[in-house]
Symmetry: C2
Subunit: 322 residues, 2 copies
């Protein structure tokens, strides 16, 4: 059983886990990236350098690799490629290459912060107020529904890339004029939480929920987290998954405000911090392997996640010469 | 021979190297940090959790550890502690604990971006124009010496923490009013370079110079670098070291503008990217061990650094559960 992983980048530990789990069942992980200096390439069983995802030949290139390596399933680790793979899902599957990605409408919605907001609001799931119309912002500021500081960030994008914090109307107007395809949100200073879940590819049932509270944030990336269990967080996560219907690994970020948890982002892919979940026994890769063998995974029993609360998890930098 | 390293934080690889080199000569590395979740602690031979560096008992606590572990030398990995250790250097050395830190006036100067600028200017070494007076900025803007965008960042601090980019006078004035102890500099969009050097503790001669060009910058941290050799960069580095007279490991950051290299920062300590230098054979830890044995290291022969040009080096995240 061979799995091809696209845009592996610096996700070294995840590729190590795939290699370990696939090797156990006589399979291999094949890693691809357009950048030969992507360190995760060198941790796979085999790797290939491919064109950039915006190259018109990209999909046929990947399809050829699936044939060459007798691939059973493929997935990507980056947001912009989710839509691409979702668009060609059927085409791949005609040749027997399962694409582990949610439906196109799901990944499109998650990639667009304004669509995410609209969807959650329609489903009465608490989220961060999000605007694409500055007049609406001004109206809500005047009505006192929101207040400064506000943040402006790209409508598509992850982490804090391109994020500006603005303290007054003048700054807001300047940044708004200069940046296109941006959204405006109130700045929320609160604890951040993250839930990693796996939705079975066969039964579409949630089989894992793993919750953590983020500590020190540095430029939008988490340095430290604490494992928690929280039935309220589980309930909201269930609600979102039920409404959105994603499949495979999904990572959902939350703020906790005085009114409770609100969703900040939904990533229908392996989250950057997935290694924490794996190290705590949340083996989504084994779940994928089961699914590929036609075996459904046991649905998660609400509030009874099989992991230990209170553990601290940290991230550090590793440097290598290629 | 035992070495105590303060504020080890997430510098896991550096502690691994210290352990490896010290173990070869029958020595040990003892790591300390105020945060029990600092992952580097757990890579040392022994570790201790200590008070914060601003605790009045900190120095006596560290001195007791030096006695307890029969320490030969100690050093710190973070900027704010350099001044502290430099202040108590003599006191430690009276008891036979060598503090590997430059003189207090050197570390104070490097920690303060405005003092660094003044020092370099006085020594005719090219650097980034730096202001602590907004009227001077306005004057130079009017005279066309500098232009927008400008950046505002803390006078003390590292990386891009607290950095704002401003596009016009209005924004500049707003940020300037809101932030105290900040400096203003022109925003420089250019390639960034870094030189790691070692200045022998006995001879005060430079024994290593290792140059790299940074690629992708993400939130002020380098993801990727390429090893280079450049006699011009070496010359400026020599000049700085000659004028400043630091000792031990020193990391100097540069921009390359159309007028040539200009210095952006001098860090009189192990740089965050030192593992690249080590992996390329620049073993500053062995140099420290030699010095502690009373053996001087061979001075660097200008332009003949013993490393291979053109190698790519990358950084990735590693996650652990404590």
């Amino acid at each position: 059983m061979n799995v091809l992983i696209c845009s592996v980048g610096r996700r070294v530990q995840l590729i190590d886990y795939f290699k370990e789990e696939l090797n156990k069942v006589g399979g291999k992980v094949i890693a691809v990236d357009c950048d030969p200096t992507a360190p995760a390439l060198y941790h796979a069983d085999l790797f290939e350098i491919v064109p950039r995802i915006d190259n018109p030949e990209y999909i046929s290139y990947i399809k050829n690799l699936c044939r060459k390596y007798n691939i059973n399933a493929l997935l990507t680790l980056i947001d912009p490629e989710l839509t691409l793979l979702a668009s060609f899902k059927e085409e791949f599957e005609k040749e027997g290459f399962l694409v582990i990605v949610s439906e196109k409408k799901v990944v499109d919605l998650c990639y667009d912060k304004y669509l995410t907001f609209k969807f959650l609001k329609e489903n009465n799931i608490p989220t961060v107020p999000t605007y694409i119309d500055i007049d609406m912002v001004i109206q809500d500021l005047n009505e006192g529904t929101i207040k400064f500081p506000l943040i402006i960030k790209p409508r598509n994008g992850s982490g804090s890339v391109g994020l500006h914090k603005v303290a007054n109307l003048n700054d807001l107007q300047i940044f708004w004029q200069e940046n296109h395809d941006y959204i405006i949100q109130p700045f929320i200073e609160s604890n951040e939480f993250c839930v990693e879940s796996y939705i079975d590819l066969l039964t579409k049932e949630t089989t894992n929920l793993f919750c953590k509270r983020k500590i020190n944030m540095r430029a939008g990336e988490t340095d430290k987290s604490i494992v928690i269990k929280d039935s309220v967080l589980n309930d909201i996560t269930y609600e979102v998954i039920h409404a959105l219907k994603p499949i495979g690994p999904v990572d959902i970020d939350y703020f906790k405000t005085k009114d409770g948890y609100i969703i900040s982002e939904i990533n229908p892919r392996f989250g950057g911090g997935y290694p924490y979940a794996y190290e705590m026994g949340q083996n989504f890769i084994k779940s994928i392997i089961n699914n590929l063998k036609g075996i459904p995974n046991t649905p998660y029993e609400k509030y009874l996640g099989e992991y230990e609360e209170g553990k601290t998890m940290v991230r550090y930098d590793h440097f290598i010469v290629l």
